[in-house]
Amino acid sequence: MSDEARLADARDKLAELRNGFKARLRERVAELEAAVQSASAGEAGGVQRTEALAHKLAGTAGSYGFPEVGEAAAELEALCDAGFDADAAETLLDRLRRGV
């Protein structure tokens, strides 16, 4: 197989993977929303769970072609690290939802 044919084949597979990820993305965002809600309510482990979920999404979403989701998730992770703020977290969640 030529380099061009291999790349074309890879792009087709990437499109399939992206469709599958998009279907799962709403579920991952829902998990993150629940974690933010828990953190905002001051529940034990809420901030840590938000940070962990945001970290994973920050690394994954951009690789699948959802850069806005990845960037908002990275900022949410940084927010957890610097000092969680419920209003700022909700603003970032809004940005994240718009990128889905």
Binding site: L17, F21, A58, G59
Partner: protein, 125 residues
């Protein structure tokens, strides 16, 4: 050194899926995916890959911990390791290469150019 066989270790199944596609279909490499540091140690011993791609933040045995054990194992100590991380602060990246890693790849990555990024870090003309 030409890369033919790679072990990819990441606890996120979505990263494993897109990473495997990239390394196999774009890079043309044989790929073994594992989801934790202990499995990476086993795969390294069993497969003797040309490269190990290691996520940094993983539960139980994280990337740096896995790397330290690889370096202590005479059968695996010479295998180049490239870390992958979504938390790429410059001082942290320097720390990983000072430990002896071949390099660090930031997540997110472009699956179409990932193999070239890796070659630039690992393959010496």
């Amino acid at each position: 050194m030409a890369i033919r066989k790679v072990v990819l270790c990441d606890d996120d199944p979505d990263i494993r899926a897109i990473g495997e596609m990239s390394l196999r279909d774009v890079g043309g490499w044989e790929v073994f995916c594992v989801s934790d540091g202990f499995s990476a140690l086993s795969a390294a011993r069993d497969e003797q890959p040309d490269l190990i791609l290691l996520d940094i933040m993983m539960p139980e045995l994280d990337g740096p911990g896995t790397f330290a054990r690889l370096r202590e194992d005479p059968e695996c100590s010479g295998i180049p390791v490239v870390f992958m991380t979504a938390k790429a602060q410059p001082h942290e990246l320097r720390g990983y290469t000072e430990l002896g890693a071949a390099g660090v790849i930031a997540k997110p990555f472009d699956p179409i150019t990932l193999p070239d990024q890796i070659r630039a870090l690992v393959e010496v003309a």
